[in-house]
């Protein structure tokens, strides 16, 4: 984003989970799967991985704009951009990472929710454990990008499991002191 390489397009998305009940949001970057589903389903063989395991945007001359990848990615990452008639996705800012800089999203993230560095650097400065195995039903996906979990004991993260942790069940104490309005 904010660069000529990506033509000003942000290639990550911010999901607003359910604004009616929470301010929670989730930024979604490409997880860079070891065996990417998007590439598996591409009928034009337009989605390539670099030697470092970075899954790239569809190759413009090959992409036929069918959106198979958009439908198939378990993380919902690729987007078909009509303006460019091409599937574009997070490429880990190859122009930056190839020169030793962090991708732009992880460079500017004010909360370090998006973070770029080595596992040793993470362990030295952050709490939580790093995990990169995800279950989508029967499909297990291993990614290059890690997420942070409280403990690794539970194994691969079940992405279809229901229920989320509510930090504040009754933020305004309505049950304790009654309705205010």
């Amino acid at each position: 984003m904010e660069c000529g390489t990506h033509r000003g397009q942000s290639l990550i998305h911010l999901e607003v989970i359910d604004r009616a009940t929470t301010t929670q949001t989730a930024p979604m970057v490409c997880m860079h799967c070891e065996d990417p589903t998007c590439a598996q389903v591409c009928p034009a063989d337009a989605i390539k991985q670099t030697e470092e395991g970075i899954v790239q945007s569809a190759s413009k001359p090959r992409c036929i704009g069918c959106s198979n990848c958009v439908l198939a990615c378990p993380f919902g990452v690729p987007k078909y951009m009509a303006e460019f008639d091409q599937m574009m996705k997070c490429d880990m800012c190859t122009d930056r990472t190839s020169e030793g800089n962090a991708p732009m999203c992880a460079s500017v993230c004010p909360s370090e929710a998006l973070w770029y560095g080595t596992i040793d650097q993470f362990n030295a400065t952050r709490s939580g454990s790093l995990l990169r195995d995800f279950m989508f039903g029967r499909q297990q996906v291993r990614t290059k990008v890690y997420t942070v979990v409280d403990d690794l004991g539970a194994g691969a993260l079940d992405m279809l499991a229901s229920g989320q942790r509510n930090w504040l069940d009754d933020p305004f104490g309505i049950e304790e002191i009654g309705v205010l309005a």
């Binding site: 301010t23 370090e112 933020p171």
Partner: protein
């Protein structure tokens, strides 16, 4: 006549806000830029380091400045998009004069015509009505150099007592509270102290949206196991995962703090040694809090008593802790009370002058800290000196080379200036970096006031909603067009480096002021080679004051990536953490407790206006939006004001998410979509204030001010809501 020359629609169509989406020249992956300039973001008091990419005298993009220690490359959306404000189609490129007969409403004039007209009107108004009938309003998005220069310009060139600044709507309650309790108006700690705190308490600050970079410091504290307390009428983003949420009703913060002090005393979670050695007035504070039990406070604040006890326990038993407050507790008719009550909690538990300990404001505006130190305020001279103190006047007069009698006395604060314009006592106004049509309370009153001016001159880079009322518009400079320094919210003086020169005939603000001073016959006080010379004079003028910059130089600031004041001597390393060893800035070295009995806000809900209104900001907009409402990506993120309300209230009103509602106060009405969210108290609605005219939240707010700080009550008004 300072009425707008065209309709709002015509003015917007000619002067914007239009949206800028792409850098000059469009997107070009192969562009070789001419240079990359290390400077800072202009959008908030955190002053994040940023590198601006420059091509053909235009800012075309940015790079994170990873080496700058405060933000290490991090930015918020405003910082990421800030480069789009230069090369903007709305940019004012030449001076203009109001001309209702022109299809543009204004006609282009030369600089000579413009400045001569301004000077002639100043002279006419001052000769007819007296010197103080011409006022100046300024702002602290400006550098230290410009802030200092304006203080001197208003007193010696304009010769008016009536200079004040837009921090009157932002920082003054914190400043007044800090001076009363601690003897100084500066954040006590560098932000690097935050990760050392065992408890972090955020009172009335939506950190995630208004000071996004501070989030990373708080998360680092939590990575170490720190507890997080959030005090806010809304479940702001940081509150979602907080250890303790205190959902305080707008206008009751001092009751909550008082109840916490009550519990600290009852449970003896006090640092007696610290209180005895380093403070005075504990008994007065304890006396005022004696009856403020958690049960009593629960009834006032709406915060369950058990949570108040828990807050006291977290704060009182932690070895280290920091309490941060911002406009949420400060923009009240008791803003100073709220700040003093917060500071009481730090003094009672000895949480000052040590790593990871402090009670601190988070400064809002870009140079909100530095801009309020060196004579920008109606009662102030450089170094945070008092304009009524004969010794202070004599010191500054000596630096300025004038007789102390030439320096006017204390003027009236910003809101009173607008009132005096409305009542006809002030007839002329020069403003810079101030957009009261959006930022002042009761915007219908503000419009009436500006319409009554006999003459109004504005220095600005875009035609702001206030500049639309001007008789003469002087095309000034953007942040990236002039060298100088700013002082960030942590008290760190930083270097602002010019990346480009002003486009067209636009001029640097400093040059405009110097030219005006010369035409007013006061060149002898204003002969500076460059802004560095202004800074050097500022440092000497500040020497011996509380905000002491004596040992600062542009070179040191740049080389050392900032310097924390006080820097009382040449070569002094600066003072990142204040009050070490329990030494406060009052003459006896001791801090002051204050007794803070609870009192209600100026306006409270009743049968006619039964709902509390509070106002604030969103992450993608900055203050009155003059800059950020012109940047496409930021506008898309939050295009127009929404009225946040809880589903219980929406149900009562028969309103669904997205429905238009009309919100009315005793002063005005606004119609806007409802944003039905269960993240706000059911008795309170929230509207962000960044927009003008029919979308201005400040149509509803109250002009009542704090008796000490003269801060208007932006955070509490009583409103009625109906489906539109």
């Amino acid at each position: 006549m300072a009425k707008t020359p065209l309709t709002d629609e015509e003015l917007i169509s000619r002067y914007g806000p239009h949206l800028n989406e792409t850098p000059p020249g469009g997107w070009d992956a192969g562009l070789e830029v001419d240079r990359v300039v290390n400077t800072h973001c202009c959008f908030c008091g955190q002053q994040c380091g940023i590198k601006l990419k420059v091509h053909k005298n235009a800012v075309v993009g940015f790079e994170p400045w990873y080496e700058f220690p405060f933000n290490e490359g991090k930015l918020c959306p405003k910082g990421v998009k800030r480069y789009l404000q230069g090369s903007h189609p709305d940019r004012l490129l030449h001076p203009m004069e109001r001309d209702p007969s022109s299809p543009d409403g204004f006609r282009q004039i030369t600089w000579d015509q413009a400045l001569d007209r301004v000077v002639a009107e100043i002279r006419r108004i001052q000769a007819t009505y007296g010197d103080d009938a011409f006022a100046m309003l300024s702002g602290v998005s400006l550098t230290n150099e410009k802030s200092y220069l304006i203080g001197k310009f208003a007193r010696l060139a304009l010769h008016t007592a009536n200079l004040d600044y837009n921090g009157r709507y932002c920082m003054v309650s914190a400043g007044a509270g800090g001076k009363k309790a601690l003897g100084v108006d500066r954040a006590p700690n560098p932000w690097s102290d935050i990760p050392l705190a065992d408890v972090v308490w955020i009172a009335g600050s939506n950190v995630a949206e208004t000071f996004p970079i501070t989030t990373s410091y708080i998360w680092r504290a939590r990575d170490r196991g720190a507890k997080l307390i959030i005090q806010d009428p809304r479940v702001v983003p940081l509150a979602r995962t907080a250890d303790l949420f205190l959902p305080v009703r707008p206008g009751t913060d001092s009751a909550l703090f008082g109840a916490v002090l009550n519990v600290l005393i009852r449970r003896d979670w006090l640092d007696h040694e610290f209180i005895d050695a380093h403070t005075v007035g504990f008994d007065e504070a304890a006396g005022a809090a004696a009856e403020m039990t958690p049960q009593w406070a629960a009834g006032i604040t709406g915060v369950p008593a058990a949570r108040i006890e828990q807050a006291a326990e977290l704060w009182g038993t932690a070895a280290t802790g920091m309490l941060f407050h911002a406009r949420g507790i400060e923009q009240h008719t008791k803003g100073v009370d709220n700040v003093l009550a917060a500071i009481n909690l730090g003094l009672a538990t000895g949480k000052f002058g040590k790593p990871g300990c402090g009670v601190s404001t988070i400064t809002g505006q870009g140079n909100g800290q530095g801009g309020r130190e060196h004579g920008h305020k109606c009662d102030q001279l450089p170094g945070n000196r008092d304009i009524t103190n004969p010794e202070h006047r004599a010191h500054v007069a000596q630096v300025w080379g004038c007789d102390a009698s030439e320096i006017p006395g204390k003027g009236i604060p910003a809101q009173e200036i607008l009132e005096a314009i409305h009542s006809g006592q002030i007839k002329g106004l020069l403003s810079i970096c101030f957009n009261p049509m959006v930022s002042a309370p009761d915007s219908n009153f503000t419009r009436e006031a500006l319409d009554k001016l006999e003459f109004y001159a504005v220095i600005d880079f875009f035609l702001s909603e206030s500049a639309q009322h001007a008789d003469v518009v002087l095309a000034g400079s953007l942040h990236e067009e002039e060298d100088g320094t700013a002082t960030s919210g942590e008290g760190r003086i930083i270097k602002i480096n010019a990346a480009v020169s002003p486009p067209g005939e636009a001029r640097r603000d400093g040059e405009i002021l110097l030219d005006l001073a010369a035409r007013l016959g006061k060149q002898r006080y204003f002969s500076y080679r460059d802004n560095e010379e202004i800074f050097d004079e500022l440092c000497i003028a500040s020497a011996g004051g509380t905000a002491d910059y004596r040992g600062a130089t542009w070179q040191r600031i740049e080389e050392e990536m900032g310097l924390f004041w006080p820097i009382p001597e040449v070569g002094h390393p600066g003072t990142p953490r204040l009050f070490e060893g329990g030494k406060f800035f009052h003459p006896d070295g001791k801090a002051r407790f204050h007794g803070v009995p609870f009192r209600e806000s100026a306006e409270v809900v009743d049968d006619e206006y039964p709902i509390w209104l509070t106002t604030g900001r969103v992450v993608s907009q900055y203050l009155s939006g003059t800059q950020t409402r012109r940047i496409a990506g930021l506008v898309e993120q939050y295009p127009e004001p929404l009225c946040e309300m809880h589903s219980l209230l929406a149900e009562q009103l028969g309103v669904s998410n997205g429905n238009l509602v009309t919100v009315s106060s005793r002063r005005g009405t606004i119609t806007l979509p409802a944003n039905v969210v269960n993240t706000i108290r059911p008795d309170t609605v929230f509207i962000p204030y960044h927009w003008p005219g029919a979308k201005a939240a400040n149509q509803l707010t109250n002009r009542a001010v704090d008796p000490i700080s003269k801060m208007p009550e932006f955070k509490v008004a009583a409103v009625r809501i109906e489906p539109a």
